[in-house]
Symmetry: C2
Subunit: 337 residues, 2 copies
DNA sequence: AGCGCAAATCTAAACGTTTAACCTGTCAAC
DNA sequence: GTTGACAGGTTAAACGTTTAGATTTGCGCT
């Protein structure tokens, strides 16, 4: 079996020069009908397929955007992914995705691959410890926009939901319903997202009792911690979970321990699981403005790409965009006495 | 701002030839300590980053596998994605993913991109109308393994759950519990997966009443159809849904119409949503052997890649692997009178 | 001093494209 | 019957690597 046919093979078969073949393929210059026919036929017969590597190598551009996510299981993340896919589609770009699986090393290697393939730009939701990746990205000077999980790092543009505002909204709502003991739980304490939420949580709490609980790394650990806390004196009456996976862990633990939601504990979850309203009771959620975030990120990215193309790299200051989440209170939250 | 530094720039700065730089980068040949030091320093100072395009162009290989999925929202699909990611990681491969969003055109273009980047191989869950993509893949002679949704197409290896067996199992179980009127519902009637399920559904039904209902393309359509059917004479007592999204649609429609599960209608769902056991009642599911499928697909693919490297392309017959699903009956299914 | 040999280094030719620059007819306009 | 203009064609030089193969160097032996 011979190797893959190249533009040279096509040219030979059609009896023309490789330049002419290239012009036919890209339509970048007029080619006579007769030769064009021969070339097209040769392409079909040989089963010629363009070598994108050589193509982008030579032309120095590609219309491929890389997207990096920690995982795909959360509703917010795959919503984001699908929104970006759709925007890319309508703008004539391609998307190549990677999954870091919350592993900084893996994230680093995957991003390296994307950069090695000279994607036009990158949109990423960083893992919980992205420092080396950030350094790499910064050195590479590739256009990048961070989403959602930002870091104390001013080198990149980012787009996120307004975490403080969202948290303040929930706390106010819960207090308004008579709750006086609130529990917030999250998995990664050093995510800026988490820190902002904790900060707003404490600030908005006022004279209510506010407590933070670290989930730990798996369902069992968290379940045990949560139930233990509920059994101790002065238990919280409302739980705010940092995403839908944590919420799931919590729900299972409550079920197993015979604690009722919302009678014994009200629950609100960040994230927007599709299953929120088929639960009994329906789950209260803080919904990300997913579409808006995706569009904003795309906008920033295309500006950066334009900038890079013009050689104006890094001239513009980095920009930080925040958008409001919406609180949807439902059956999982109850009014107290 | 100058363009990205290349191996040439590094060579000039270190006062050596480009070959030496290449040897240092790849460790493919011994290089003296002194020069190696100079080169490494030059690399660091210039912020040199390898151009993977040129690299794979020249070396004709890459350790990147493409994965194509219709969407990411189903538990099965993202489980598959994550399983493949992990296997790739442990075998020293990279994964690049694309989402076809159930759009054959988009699928075709994305696969083209992947092929253009000369990925080593491809694992894909085809969209509902993949014919042109299949032709492209076949012409390209790239190593490919199909997963889950197969087609009457013998050109590719594929791995799937055993749909007939799974369906037979559910139907038997339901009949065993006294159900005599079953409804199966799916979205794409021409998917082979659907056809096999329908076939087994009818065969296993015996003297019970078995009916198939097409969902239509959105939640409202399906909700209306489902409720309408339940209101007509001789309503089904059990529903088998083709995946978790359809199940969600069904649950919402039932809720809105005040139909109770499982009292008025038992439900079993293909797919394995994480939220299955936090529902009231807990959802009965048919769980894909996700991990096993991922591993089998990976195995077939690496064999094909090896074959391609050896120039033995297409010599081996295509192989079809099927694995058993597991039925998990829970509260959403009730015993009848 | 001369030889052989291994290690270190370099030269140069690929890999498959794109594209600037150049060449050749044809044909309309004067 | 010159002169352009222009369409259609070609040549050849990149793009940034890898890697045979040639060359140089250093060193231990006679």
């Amino acid at each position: 079996m011979s190797r893959k046919p190249t533009i040279h093979d096509v040219a030979r078969k059609a009896g023309v020069s490789i330049a002419t073949v290239s012009y036919v393929i890209n339509g970048s210059r007029a080619v006579g009908a007769e030769r064009r026919g021969r070339i097209e036929q040769a392409i079909a017969e040989l089963g010629y397929f363009r070598n994108g590597l050589a193509q982008s190598l030579k032309s120095e551009t590609s219309r491929v955007i890389g997207v990096s996510l920690p995982y795909a299981a959360s509703a917010y993340f795959h919503g984001l992914m699908e929104a970006l896919e759709d925007i890319a589609e309508s703008e004539g770009f391609e998307i190549l995705q990677i999954l870091s699986r919350q592993d900084p090393e893996r994230e680093l290697r995957r991003i390296e691959t994307l950069l090695a393939h000279r994607v036009a730009g990158l949109i990423m939701v960083p893992s919980y410890d992205p420092h080396r990746t950030f350094d790499l990205l910064h050195r590479s000077r590739a256009p990048v926009v961070m989403v959602d999980r930002l870091w104390p790092d001013d080198r990149f543009d980012y787009v996120t939901m307004n975490n403080r505002e969202a948290m303040t909204g929930v706390v106010d709502a819960l207090i308004g319903l008579g709750h006086r003991a609130l529990l917030f739980t999250a998995r990664f304490p050093n995510l800026i997202t988490t820190q902002q939420r904790i900060e707003a949580f404490k600030a908005a709490g006022g004279d209510a009792r506010v407590e933070f609980l670290l989930t730990g790394d798996d369902e069992e650990t968290f379940g045990a911690r949560l139930i233990e806390r509920l059994r101790r004196p002065l238990p919280p009456t409302a739980l705010i979970a940092s995403n839908s996976i944590i919420t799931l862990w919590a729900l299972k633990a409550l079920q197993a321990a015979g604690v009722s939601c919302p009678d014994d504990l009200s629950i609100v979850s960040f994230d927007e699981p599709v299953w929120a309203d088929v639960l009994t009771p329906p789950l209260s959620i803080i919904r990300h403005p997913t579409r808006v975030i995706a569009e904003a990120a795309w906008g920033l990215l295309t500006e950066r790409i334009e900038e890079a193309r013009a050689g104006e790299l890094g001239r513009r200051k980095t920009r930080h965009l925040e958008f409001s989440a919406t609180l949807e209170l439902r059956g999982s939250v109850t009014r107290l006495a």
